[in-house]
């Protein structure tokens, strides 16, 4: 008994000390971040779909890359500080951004397999800067691509200048037209005046694509495996802090089908339904817009570290990464084994409700109703009415040229019965009912 009391006492003291220490640590006054000059690697890496940029601080020893794709690295001296809100190191590139020159050596099992010098490279966005696709160009092709963009921009600026001149001319003609109308009406002329109405000039369209300015970086394209990199300065020495491990990985599964779902009542807060095991639960009336994507499955830890080396993740977990939108398909809505709807993709325009009230309407887009506007998004509209009789439904994709559903595109949709949740407490009584039956049986046995 004494031992027990002693142990309990010790445990209480331990808890007290730990709680006090944590309290003490939390009471430290706030502080301005301490800036430290560091050698970091700036990167622009292929993330499975497009390119993502970031930096690798000194605290991270490993850089993660996707196999057989071009990625860029550049060694820089910058000021690094710890940002407690995100618990991550940040770089002050605006204060200090000094390129460290040299040759990047790539080693495998201790042997140098590549010596890289900096090369020109650009990123091209064929669907515009906010488009979903980005392409990487290097060396001569990079300069050619940038030149193409520059020419397109110059042409646009020329057309824009012409447009502004034409608009000035148009305003003049319009003024003249109104004056003429006024004059003739005041002179007592009635009926049609037969004066030509000046035509408003149309603004030119800018280039639909965007290309970044060329810059010089080390371009890394490695097959699957583990490597080391280091920077050798011009004097032949290894630059301190430049040695890093490189893990080059690839996707585990390819060609999956995932969905981005835009709920009609909160179109900016999109949902993902990537795993085939996922079920879409819907309560009440819902209008959903489905956007199907091809997807590849990557290791969560590796992929998180690829996008930001300071990210966390689990090596045992796998995540789906959307690679490209799936085109030329229909969305099929099935219920009780029957095809209920065959839905085609349409463009939609989100129109804010004018006035002080918040809200918007999602309208089917067409150029006539929305001149000079672009559709907000494209998708497959599915109306889940609460009047649907059964509770279990499925969706599939079907290629327009074929009649069979696409493999891995099936997802279940279940309509929730929220009202019934009040009966859940009654279900909990089940063990008590069984207990009561056992108790009564036992009493009967004792009496008889």
């Amino acid at each position: 008994m004494r031992k027990t009391i002693l142990f309990t006492g010790l445990a209480s003291i331990l808890i007290f000390i730990l709680t006090s220490l944590i309290g003490f640590a939390q009471q430290k006054p706030s502080f301005a971040p301490t800036l430290r000059e560091e050698l970091v690697y700036g990167f622009n890496v292929f993330d499975g779909k497009s390119y993502s940029g970031g930096f690798v601080p000194e605290t991270e020893n490993t850089i993660y890359l996707i196999a057989d794709h071009d990625n860029t690295l550049s060694a820089k001296k910058t000021l690094v500080y710890f940002w407690p809100i995100t618990a991550k190191y940040m770089a002050g590139f605006k204060t200090l951004n000094e390129e460290v020159e040299g040759t990047l050596e790539v080693l495998k099992e201790g042997k140098i397999i590549k010596k890289l010098t900096k090369k020109d490279n650009v990123l091209s966005y064929p669907e515009g800067y906010f488009g979903e696709k980005s392409l990487f160009y290097k060396e001569k092709e990079a300069l050619k691509e940038y030149d193409k963009y520059k020419k397109a921009m110059n042409k646009y600026y020329d057309e824009l200048k012409k447009y502004y001149d034409a608009r000035i001319e148009y305003r003049k003609k319009l003024d003249k037209f109104f004056k003429e109308v006024k004059k003739r009406r005041e002179a007592g002329e009635v009926g049609p005046l037969n004066i030509e109405i000046p035509k408003e000039p149309k603004p030119p369209k800018g280039p639909s694509f965007y290309v970044t300015q060329p810059k010089k970086d080390f371009i890394l394209n490695l097959p699957l495996g583990k490597y080391q990199i280091r920077l050798r300065a011009k004097d032949g020495t290894i630059v301190e802090g430049s040695e890093k491990n490189v893990v080059v990985f690839t996707s585990r599964r390819r060609g999956g089908i995932g969905y981005e779902i835009i709920p009609g009542n909160r179109w900016t807060k999109r949902e993902s339904c990537n795993d085939p095991a996922m079920i879409i639960y819907a309560a009440g009336k819902n209008i959903l817009y489905f956007r199907p994507y091809a997807q590849d499955e990557y290791n969560e830890l590796y992929h998180n570290k690829l996008i930001d080396p300071q990210n966390e993740g689990r090596e045992e977990k796998w995540i789906w990464v959307h690679t490209s939108p799936i085109k030329n398909v229909f969305l099929l809505f099935f219920g009780q084994g029957k095809l209920l709807k065959k839905i085609d993709k349409k463009p939609y325009y989100v129109k804010q409700i004018p006035g002080p009230e918040l809200g918007y309407n999602i309208l089917e887009y067409n150029e006539k109703d929305f001149p000079y506007q672009k559709p907000t998004f494209e998708g497959y509209q599915l109306d889940l009415s609460p009047n649907l009789k059964k509770t279990g439904y499925q969706i599939y994709l079907q290629k327009k040229s074929e009649n069979t559903p696409l493999a891995k595109s099936e997802r279940g949709i279940r309509l929730l019965r929220k009202k019934n949740s009040q009966f859940l407490y009654y279900l909990s009584l089940l063990p008590l009912v069984v207990g009561a039956i056992v108790f009564i049986q036992r009493r009967r046995g004792v009496v008889s």
């Binding site: 027990t4 640590a25 618990a87 309560a283 929730l416 949740s421």
Partner: protein
């Protein structure tokens, strides 16, 4: 002769299981514990359903897994307490001495107690399955394959909990001591893990050298606890289901079996060492 001794051991285990199981099933405690776990589950599910606003969607593979996890934790507390007091109560009441005059050995006694609790949990599992099936039918939340996997894995989690409880019980001579030991150990586990996670939220720069050493020590301690505490096997198992890794799922079953064997062996050994009077 050896064969005869083996069959006698098996027979005494069977008799012990039957005696204890019938006694537990005829009491209100068992049904009460399941009721509490299910009522908590209903509360969680009702709030969850209420959280999905009208005209909204929720995308999930396993909406029923978290309530099941909570139910298993609650029922595990009940099982760890009854297994923690099971040996010490028999010792305190003197029945252990009487049993050991007969063909009952420390091995058959411990194994009998262990399997009684396992059977109790298997019966609980029937209640859980019926309850979640009912929930699915009422609300249309999916009774999915992953829920079946969780139900299967929970048998192994509970095995860890029971063997840990028996180990505590074998160490103590009185019911009161067993409960105090159990609560103290679980609180110490909780405090260390809480302190470690609290320390993790501070950057290295914000901590003085002694606190950095303390953080390191806590890291090793919580690593150790994650293998000693039976409850960490539950969270580890849930994670393997959540990330849908069959390898991890089977590995967790393996860990639970090894854990149970180690703690049961220790219980038998300590019971033998301490004797029937403690």
């Amino acid at each position: 002769m050896a064969k005869g001794s083996f069959s006698l051991t098996v027979h005494s285990i069977k008799v012990l299981i039957k005696r204890e199981l019938v006694s537990s099933l005829q009491g209100w405690g068992f049904y009460g514990a399941i009721f509490v776990s299910l009522i908590v589950c209903s509360f969680l599910l009702k709030n969850f359903m209420g959280g999905i606003r009208e005209e909204n969607i929720l995308i999930s593979s396993y909406p029923l897994n978290f309530p099941l996890f909570v139910s298993v934790i609650i029922i595990s507390f009940y099982l760890v307490v009854i297994s923690a007091i099971s040996i010490s109560r028999e010792r305190e009441q003197g029945t252990l001495e009487i049993l050991f005059y007969g063909p009952v050995s420390s091995f058959s006694f411990t194994i009998g107690k262990y399997f009684k609790d396992i059977f109790l949990y298997l019966i609980t599992l029937i209640f859980f399955a019926a309850y979640f099936f009912g929930v699915s039918a009422l609300t249309n939340l999916g009774f999915t394959y992953s829920l079946v996997k969780s139900l299967g894995l929970s048998i192994f989690w509970v095995s860890c909990v029971i063997s840990f409880g028996l180990f505590i019980s074998s160490l103590t001579g009185r019911v009161r001591s067993s409960i105090i030991w159990l609560v103290a150990i679980l609180l110490a586990f909780l405090a260390i893990q809480f302190a470690h996670s609290a320390f993790l939220s501070f950057p290295k720069e914000a901590l003085s050298t002694p606190l950095l050493y303390l953080r390191r020590t806590l890291y090793y301690l919580s690593k150790g606890i994650s293998w000693v505490s039976p409850f960490s096997y539950i969270s580890r198992g849930m994670e393997s289901i959540q990330i849908e890794s069959m390898k991890l799922y089977l590995l967790n079953i393996g860990y639970c079996i090894v854990y149970s064997v180690i703690f049961l062996t220790l219980s038998v050994y300590i019971l033998k060492l301490k004797g029937v009077r403690g």
